[in-house]
């Protein structure tokens, strides 16, 4: 049994070696392997001929074994160990890769789980929000309806109130009208009384004035006659002098006063400058104007002539 196992192992080793050799893409390894086998067989053949015949003990027929040298064995062992190590390493790598794969898978699963969980959570939140919104809208609608209802009620009340107020105002207006009518009638009556009184007073005044006028008429007439007479002659003299006065250029702002003495016939007795203007030409023009009047118009009444026109002054000042 053991032999068979050993044989199998050997075969396996050879096969594995061959396999490994043939699997190697590099032909150099194949050549090296063949050379190695050739050397090994040569050495085996030499050792077989020169060594002592070995007494073979009874060995189970099932074991097929081959004798190899210690070095070869050692080499085989090293090789097998190396291969085993390689296999172990490979297994380890595979295991590690598998583990990594599993870890990643687990991580992915966990992530997916988490995503699903979050999604669910979000959906739940959205649902909650939607529900809240719907609820709020419903509440708002209710509130608006309530407000509209209140507004309608308020308007109705206001309308009623206004109607009441209007009626009240109309009543007050009516009362005021009646009151004013009474007042106006009273005022009109008072005015009528006053007018009658004023008329009576006016009549009295007119009567008094008439009486007063009648008393002083003669006196006033005489005074007025004298005044109007003076005014009339003043106007005539002024007109004659104006016609004779040729105002020199650039006389604005100048003024000269002359004293005139007349004869009762109206002829000029003398003319004298009593206030000079400071401009000789201007003073001369005024004097010439006074002299230019051939005969001054004077009143025939001696008393008035003596009083006003015997001596008078004239101021020449262009406007």
């Amino acid at each position: 049994m053991k032999k068979r196992a050993l044989k199998e192992t050997k075969i396996n080793l050879s096969l594995d070696a061959l396999k490994s050799i043939y699997s190697t893409k590099d032909k150099r390894f194949l050549i090296a392997s063949l050379l190695l086998h050739f050397v090994l067989f040569s050495m085996l053949l030499v050792s077989w001929q020169s060594s002592e015949p070995v007494k073979l003990s009874a060995m189970p027929n099932s074991v097929q074994a081959r004798v190899i040298s210690l070095d070869e064995l050692q080499a085989l062992r090293s090789k097998r160990e190396a291969e085993q190590k390689k296999i172990v390493d490979k297994k380890k790598v595979l295991a590690k890769q598998k583990k990594e794969k599993l870890r990643k898978k687990e991580l992915k699963r966990k992530k997916e789980l988490k995503r699903k969980k979050d999604l669910k959570k979000k959906e739940a939140v959205a649902k909650k929000k939607k529900a809240a919104k719907r609820k709020a809208a419903e509440q708002k609608k209710i509130l608006i309806q309530k407000k509209e209802k209140e507004k309608k009620e308020r308007l109705k009340k206001e309308k009623q109130q206004k109607e009441v107020e209007r009626k009240e105002q109309e009543r007050l207006k009516e009362d005021k009208k009646k009151e004013e009518l009474v007042k106006r009638k009273a005022r009109e009556q008072r005015l009528l009384d006053k007018m009658l009184q004023a008329e009576a007073e006016h009549e009295q005044t007119v009567e008094a004035e008439r009486a007063a006028q009648a008393l002083s008429r003669q006196q006033e007439l005489a005074l007025a006659q004298e005044l109007s007479e003076t005014e009339r002659f003043l106007s005539l003299i002024r007109s004659r002098v104006v016609n004779q006065w040729h105002i020199p250029p650039k006389s604005a702002g100048l003024s000269v006063v002359l004293q005139i003495r007349l004869l009762p016939t109206g002829e000029l007795s003398s003319v004298r400058i009593i206030e000079k203007s400071g401009v000789k030409v201007f003073d001369q023009s005024a004097e010439n104007a006074a002299r230019g009047v051939r005969k001054y118009p004077v009143p025939e009444k001696r008393e008035l002539f003596e009083k006003q026109f015997r001596v008078f002054s004239m101021r020449f000042a262009p406007s």
Binding site: W245, A317, S319
Partner: protein
């Protein structure tokens, strides 16, 4: 007792003083002052080239301030004060009588003219002098007498001895014109041609010393401003910038000319210092500024500007250069000239479809149209005594020169020798 008498005397004096009538005279006659200029007696019967007394009578009549008595209405022809019958002249309503006589001296070849001005109302001689002149100087002598008479009666210096300058235009052929610059006596007589050209001349201005004329002329092919010495005839080009060179006007001290130039792109007012030839730009506006004239004190200029949309008159201090609009009545007010006292302004004003000479009082802003009966009135120029304005106006087909008093009271036309007469400029006092 004495005290009581003094008191009563004082009261009586006050009463009599108070009682004395005072007549206020604030207006004068609208008519001119009557004066009789008696034909001057010709002692010896020599031939006289000019009727001296007639020239004097015409001068006084033209002034608008006097109304001269026609010779035919005179009752006598006195030659001296002693021969005057005052009663006659008083009857004729005359305030003054001017008498005179002339005689010729073979020795000096001159006429000797004596004259006397007599105040009829005060019966006094107010003026008298003896003057002499050769045959050619008799006109000048007559104007001198007119000046003296005018001044002694009105108090204002006469302008009969001054000159006027003007331009005449004659159409020689269809495409040929002749422009002449004339200088004549103030009555339009005794004129002579100072300069002539085939190209236009305009905007004449007298220097204040009466020796030079400044004007704008195109005779060199482009507009330029010239100064012309009247006596020697010497002409000097002052400016000839690109574009407009026009409307020169002497400053009161004759040191500079104000003028219109467009050398900087737009018609603006400049003043040119004649000593240094330095230009001083006075206006700066996109509107047209032109026809500037100095104020009597030389501190301001008035000018025409269309900066408000229509030509209007503006005033500007040459230091601060801030223009102030002066005319607001009408759509056209141009070519302003100051009065001698600087209180009024004379300018061309458009109203009722015509162009007239108008005056505005700068204090009261009252406007008075002086020449409502003529149309197309242009180029007003003030007499040196400030009493008259000479201007050109359309009469028939041609323009002529006319004179109006500053109050618009009187007006007369100057005789025109030929063609269109335009752009008059009144000289300053010449002596």
């Amino acid at each position: 007792m004495k005290l009581i008498i003094i008191f009563f005397s004082f009261v009586l004096c006050v009463q009599s003083a108070y009682a004395e009538l005072m007549i206020e005279i604030t207006e004068g006659s609208d008519s001119a002052l009557p004066i009789a200029v008696v034909p001057f007696a010709n002692k010896g019967g020599f031939a006289v080239p000019y009727d001296v007394s007639r020239i004097v009578a015409n001068d006084l009549q033209r002034s608008g301030d006097f109304d001269t008595l026609p010779t035919g209405k005179m009752l006598s022809l006195p030659a001296t004060f002693n021969q005057v019958h005052f009663r006659d002249w008083r009857m004729l309503g005359q305030s003054y009588v001017l008498t005179g006589q002339l005689k010729y001296s073979d020795y000096s070849k001159k006429y000797e003219v004596s004259y006397e001005l007599i105040d009829v109302l005060s019966q006094q001689r107010v003026l008298g002098a003896v003057l002499s002149a050769g045959p050619k100087g008799l006109r000048k002598l007559a104007h001198k007498i007119s000046d003296a008479v005018y001044e002694v009666i009105t108090g204002v210096r006469g302008v009969f001895s001054t000159k006027i300058a003007y331009i005449t235009l004659k159409q020689l052929t269809k495409n040929k014109r002749e422009y002449k610059l004339h200088v004549s006596d103030a009555d339009g007589k005794n004129d002579f041609v100072l300069f002539k050209s085939k190209e236009p001349m305009l905007s004449i201005s007298w220097s204040n010393d009466g020796q030079h004329l400044a004007y704008s002329s195109f005779h060199s092919g482009r507009p330029a401003i010239y100064i012309h010495h009247v006596k020697s005839g010497h002409q000097r080009k002052v400016t000839s910038f690109k574009g407009l060179n026009s409307a020169p006007m002497w400053s009161p001290d004759d040191s500079s000319l104000v003028m219109t130039l467009s050398k900087d792109g737009n018609a603006e007012i400049y003043s040119l210092d004649l000593m240094t030839n330095k230009l001083n730009r006075l206006t700066n506006h996109y509107g047209i500024d032109t026809e500037a004239s100095w104020s009597p004190d030389g501190k301001e200029v008035v000018f025409t500007s269309d900066r408000s949309g229509k030509p209007q008159v503006y005033r500007m201090n040459i230091e601060d250069k801030k223009p102030e609009r002066l005319t607001f009545v009408g759509n056209y007010n141009a070519r302003p000239r100051f009065s001698n006292d600087g209180e009024s302004l004379y300018y061309v004003h458009q109203s009722n479809g015509g162009f007239h000479i108008a005056a505005i009082n700068m204090k009261t802003e009252e406007q008075l149209v002086l020449t409502s009966k003529t149309s197309l009135d242009e180029s007003p120029s003030l007499s040196p005594n400030g009493r008259m304005i000479i201007y050109s106006t359309l009469r028939g087909k041609n323009s002529v020169l006319a004179v109006v008093s500053v109050d618009g009271g009187s007006k007369y036309f100057l005789p025109s020798s030929s063609g269109d007469v335009r752009e008059p400029a009144w000289s300053p006092f010449l002596n």
